[in-house]
């Protein structure tokens, strides 16, 4: 596959453009949703230093989502704010596991959020993001490969943070280990669609945008097992369907309603 250097060039090949946009929507929506779930922890993290660290990671990840939406804007998909706030849930492409609520209750009243879920989810996701972006640095679409390289300069700090939490909790009290393991088993039932590319999978690989799904999955498992000795032995499932194909849960509606509330109240406002 020859390199495609600009958005204008990509727009000339309809099949290429469709596959490319599909992949970028997945990258953008994944970062966007996990950042939102992260932002809901502000002020609630286990201790003040964690609050500083987690909010910094979350803000930076939102910056990554912004860059991916920017690529879509360049490809003619509309303005960034619209892409983030106005798209219907059925066209969102994030993995379903990433939209999952942090726990019972809500941010304003009685937030009974679960730190074990947050540690497991962020560790699995940041590991996935690392292997996916590493593969994308060799993408045929140069503007995307450039962004991947940029994000990878910052993201190791995020991944290292969640690795520490993971290791420490697994080696902590029995309760800590059990709670992490229960969330890992749960993740194994739900993480499947995160590892997929949806309906354009064949084209995405064919156009050299990224390596194939099977190879990506293998690299991810390999990387995860460096931190967790005993991974669940069950196959990785997609309990709630495939977010890559626009299937989602009510948790996404809740996330988007909250996230877009201010934006929807006055779309013309300048911040």
């Amino acid at each position: 596959m020859t390199e495609v250097l600009t958005a204008e060039e990509a727009k000339k090949d309809a099949a290429y453009l469709t596959a490319l946009k599909e992949l970028i929507y997945q990258l953008a929506d994944d970062d966007f949703l996990i950042s939102f779930r992260g932002s809901e922890w502000l002020g609630l993290a286990p201790h003040i230093e964690e609050d500083v660290a987690f909010s910094s990671i979350t803000q930076n990840t939102m910056g990554h989502a912004f860059m991916f939406y920017q690529l879509l804007e360049d490809l003619g998909e509309g303005e960034i704010d619209m892409l983030a706030h106005e798209r219907h849930p059925s066209v969102r492409r994030n993995g379903i596991y990433l939209e999952k609520k942090n726990g019972e209750g809500n941010y304003l009243e009685e937030p009974y959020y679960d730190w074990a879920l947050t540690v497991v989810r962020n560790f699995l996701y940041e590991t996935f993001k690392k292997v996916k972006l590493e593969a994308i640095t060799k993408s045929s679409y140069k503007p995307l490969a450039n962004i991947a390289g940029k994000v990878l300069m910052e993201q190791p700090y995020h991944l290292a943070h969640w690795k520490i939490w993971m290791k420490q909790l697994l080696n902590s009290t029995e309760e800590a280990r059990e709670r992490i393991e229960a969330r890992l088993n749960e993740a194994w039932e739900e993480f499947g669609d995160v590892l997929e590319y949806g309906t354009q999978a064949t084209e995405i690989e064919h156009f050299g945008l990224i390596i194939g799904e099977d190879e990506l999955k293998e690299r991810w498992i390999n990387e995860v097992s460096k931190t967790i000795e005993n991974l669940p032995s069950t196959p990785i499932g997609k309990k709630y369907g495939s977010g890559r194909e626009g299937e989602h849960t009510e948790d996404l509606d809740q996330a988007l309603n909250t996230l877009s509330e201010v934006y929807m109240s006055d779309k013309e406002a300048i911040w």
Binding site: E49, V52, A53, S56, I57, Q59, N60, T61, M62, G63, H64, F66, M67, E134, T137, P143, N146, I147, G149, K150, V151, L152, M153, E154, P156, Y157, A160, H161
Partner: protein
């Protein structure tokens, strides 16, 4: 004229690092002058940095104050990657004055890094939090002079193993 614009860029400070100019932070990639129009390509530091919009605006405003400049366009490019190695010696010394230790030199990703206290120079310091008030900074403590301080996180080109 190039030099004149570059001198102006030495006066535009990062909004979150007073007295450290965007030029000394290594954020200016290219300056092109065509007649009275100035085109500046900058490299963003951290992607999630909310100051980028302000920086863009401040650079534009400062450059347009130069007599002969008709208009200035500032854009960020991701083709060039910013790394902490791009910070100039002047930038490093200004950072220290504000209690922020400059990033270590010749850092390789994944390595642990040590930071000397920007106040007393001691290396008897401890990392309190890799993450700090902005994406690019960490929080440390000097056990020698007992001052808390900050340090720029090393960010360098990512090499895939």
């Amino acid at each position: 004229m190039q030099e004149e614009i570059r001198a102006v860029l030495k006066t535009v400070d990062d909004p979150e690092l007073p007295n450290v100019s965007v030029a000394d932070l290594g954020m200016v990639h290219e300056v092109t002058v065509v007649g009275g129009d100035v085109f500046i390509t900058m490299v963003p530091t951290f992607a999630g940095c909310p100051a980028l919009d302000f920086i863009q605006k401040n650079v534009k405003t400062a450059v347009e104050e130069v007599d002969w400049v008709k208009g200035c366009e500032v854009q960020f490019s991701f083709e060039e990657k910013w790394s902490t190695d791009a910070i100039t010696d002047e930038g490093k010394s200004q950072l220290k004055k504000h209690g922020i230790a400059p990033p270590p030199e010749n850092y390789r990703p994944g390595e642990e890094w040590t930071v000397d206290c920007p106040y007393c120079g001691s290396d008897y310091t401890s990392m309190e939090n890799v993450f700090g008030p902005t994406a690019c900074r960490s929080i440390l403590y000097c056990t020698s002079c007992r001052n808390p301080f900050e340090a720029m996180k090393p960010v360098v080109d990512y090499v895939i193993n």
